[in-house]
């Protein structure tokens, strides 16, 4: 990592009254990495992502994006900086078509305000819409959702909605994309598809990925580095296999080796 990290959390703490959601969490995500955050439920994973996306403001500490302090930057300005995200619970615009949902992702790249929008043919809004439509269609092709592009987002199946949400985040052209449990509630085939999309986004589209995920198979397969949170504290960080072998992580999250073995119905080695 010769380049400076694209995202850096510097001793971030987050408190809600007496509840410590995060305590002194520091980590850095390098340009071009797939970085996963894992940990038990309530460990503060989503809180950490919310601090990056601007939903929460850290009580202490700083969040740096490409070297710039964004701790106090308004949420709506972070899209233009290059941060996109998907949500753990679906957060599509339910009454819009899939196409419009993805076009909303272009919001910060479009220049025509309401006056030019109303005049459509006169002020260049039409030309701009059509230009961006072309790029949005590329994203639609990539995520294989052509058949539903005119469908109302709220009527789609769960797996498709997850994919449309990813498409919308990709439409922002983010440098860093935050994925909050992209595989939750999916079947095996959908998970495989989603994992392939994430790897492609990372390798072909050049996006840095910060991901929260519970499916350890996926996390171990596609992440470059993994951070483990427990009770709001960072307990481990490193390459997937190192983290997997870490005794703290086993105790907090993965379970002891013999427990795992028993769960899987294998005989316990003596």
């Amino acid at each position: 990592m010769a380049e400076p990290p694209i995202l850096e959390a510097d001793r971030v703490s987050l408190r809600f009254g007496g509840v410590r959601a995060l305590t002194d969490v520091s980590f850095a995500v390098g340009q071009g990495e797939i970085f996963s955050i894992i940990g038990p439920n309530g460990a503060g994973k989503t809180s950490m992502v919310n601090c990056v996306s601007g939903r929460y403001r850290p009580t202490e500490g700083r969040v740096l994006f490409a070297g710039q302090d964004i701790t106090r930057t308004a949420t709506s300005r972070r899209a233009a900086l290059g941060i996109g995200r998907t949500f753990q619970n679906l957060a599509l615009f339910g009454h819009m078509t899939v196409l419009d949902n993805i076009m909303v992702g272009r919001h910060h790249l479009l220049r025509s305000g309401f006056v030019r929008g109303m005049a459509y043919w006169l002020g260049g809004a039409q030309r701009e819409e059509l230009e961006h439509r072309r790029e949005v269609e590329e994203i639609i092709d990539f995520l294989e959702i052509q058949h539903v592009r005119k469908a109302i987002a709220g009527t789609l199946s769960y797996g498709l909605r997850k994919r449309v949400e990813l498409a919308r985040a990709v439409a922002l052209r983010p440098r860093l994309i935050l994925l909050d449990e992209p595989m939750a509630g999916m079947n095996l085939e959908e998970k495989e598809d989603m994992a392939r999309y994430i790897v492609d986004l990372n390798e072909e589209w050049g996006m840095t990925v910060l991901m929260i995920e519970h499916d350890m198979g996926v996390v171990m397969d596609i992440s470059h580095r993994v951070m483990v949170l427990d009770f709001g504290k960072r307990i481990a960080e490193g390459a997937p296999e190192e983290v997997l072998a870490n005794p703290h992580v086993k105790r907090a999250y993965l379970g002891e080796a013999d427990e795992v073995a028993r769960d899987e119905g294998e005989p316990v080695p003596a």
Binding site: S53, G54, R55, A74, T75, S76, R77, R78, A79, A80, G84, R85, F87, A91, L92, F93, G94, H95, M96, D100, M103, V104, G105, R106, H107, H108, L110, S112, G113, F114, R116, G117, M118, A119, Y120, A125, Q126, E129, L130, R133, R134, E137, V148, K150, A151, T155, L156, R168, L172
Partner: protein, 354 residues
């Protein structure tokens, strides 16, 4: 899931896929409809034309309210006050020697500014709290109309000039009708364009899921307030058209009942539907007429004598409006526009609707 495009209608460019009307048929139907309306003064009398004019400016105001309530998901029970502000502003501008055609748009802009001021709480308030804040707008503006004599002529009201363009006077129903029609077309096309571009989508995004809208780079406070500005602009233009139709503006007209009528138009027509705003306005303007016609038909007959309707016809009118709103909320909460869509879908597939 699939769109209802007719067989053989293949779009080969993005331009063809982003039109206001989904099919060529619907576009021609709309053009024909407007052309037929142009012939209305040849057929109808002054009374019927007056109704059409009323539908026209009500539809513009209702469309503005629909952008606020239907598309952005906010609420306003002060729309009539903005409508009134537009009427007085236009009359005021005309008194300062601004020609009526410009004064109408000027009134729209002035009302938009007032709308932005009263919409500012929307940046922080939602739901019932916002409703109460807009109620305050209604009362403050009404009080302002009654007291600010320089603006509204006080309780006596304000007289204004008829529409004049290139030396032509549009002071009769037969001619003023065309002025209203032209404004309706412009305002509706503008709204349709708005909703298919950046800021229109942002408004709907704020309604559907404001948290993710913010993540998409949409400034919530800006769009919530902007929506009030646009709604007020529409109300202002509509009010100005009203002023130059009646040629007299007086404060009593713009009370809260009128605000609620606008809300009823939007709900009955269909929240979040541009065409629905027109349908709702037509419905609310024509309903009393239809009830009146029914009552006239009955009057003097056996039923009238038995029930003594003669004296209570005015009650019937009000009750019919109330009943219509309740029935709509129960049986067609998506409004007339939705019903219209269902009817069209039925005929498109007839007789194989299943």
């Amino acid at each position: 899931m699939t769109s209802m495009a007719p067989a053989g209608d293949f779009r080969s460019s993005y331009r063809a896929d982003t039109t206001i009307f989904p099919t060529r048929g619907s576009r021609y139907a709309m053009f024909t409809g407007v052309l037929i309306l142009c012939a209305a003064p040849l057929v109808f009398g002054r009374y019927e034309l007056g109704l059409l004019i009323t539908i026209g400016f009500s539809a513009i105001a209702a469309l503005g309210l629909n952008i606020l309530v239907g598309f952005t998901g906010q609420i306003s029970i002060g729309h009539a006050a903005f409508f009134g502000f537009g009427a007085f502003s236009s009359a005021l501008l005309v008194e300062h020697h601004i020609p009526v055609p410009l004064a109408i748009w000027g009134a729209g802009l002035m009302t938009a500014l007032v709308g932005l001021v009263f919409g500012a709480p929307a940046a922080r308030l939602k739901g019932l709290y916002l409703a109460i804040a807009t109620l305050a707008a209604q009362f403050i503006l009404e009080d302002f109309f009654a007291r600010a004599r320089w603006f509204s002529g006080g309780v006596a009201g304000r007289v204004t000039e008829p529409y004049e363009l290139f030396g032509l006077r549009f002071d009769r129903e037969e001619t003023y009708f065309y002025i209203v029609l032209a404004h309706v077309v412009v305002m509706f096309v503008a709204a349709a364009n708005l909703m298919r571009t950046r800021d229109g989508r942002a408004l709907v995004a704020v309604r559907d899921h404001y948290l993710s809208a913010e993540m998409m780079g949409i400034n919530l406070a800006y769009y919530r307030t902007l929506s009030f500005g646009i709604a007020a602009f529409y109300a202002g233009v509509a009010g100005a058209l009203y002023a130059h139709y009646l040629l007299f503006v007086s404060v009593e007209a713009f009370n809260i009942l009128y605000s609620i009528q606008f809300l009823a138009m939007v709900i009955i027509g269909g929240l979040g539907s541009i065409l629905g705003s027109m349908m709702g306005a037509a419905f609310m303007v024509l309903l009393p007429e239809i009830v009146q016609a029914g009552a006239d038909l009955l009057s003097g007959g056996a039923i009238d004598r038995a029930l003594r309707l003669g004296a209570s016809i005015s009650f019937l009118r009000e009750m019919a409006i109330g009943a219509a709103i309740i029935l709509f909320l129960i049986f067609e909460p998506d409004g007339l526009a939705h019903r219209w869509k269902m009817i069209r879908a039925y005929w498109k597939l007839y007789p194989f609707s299943h």
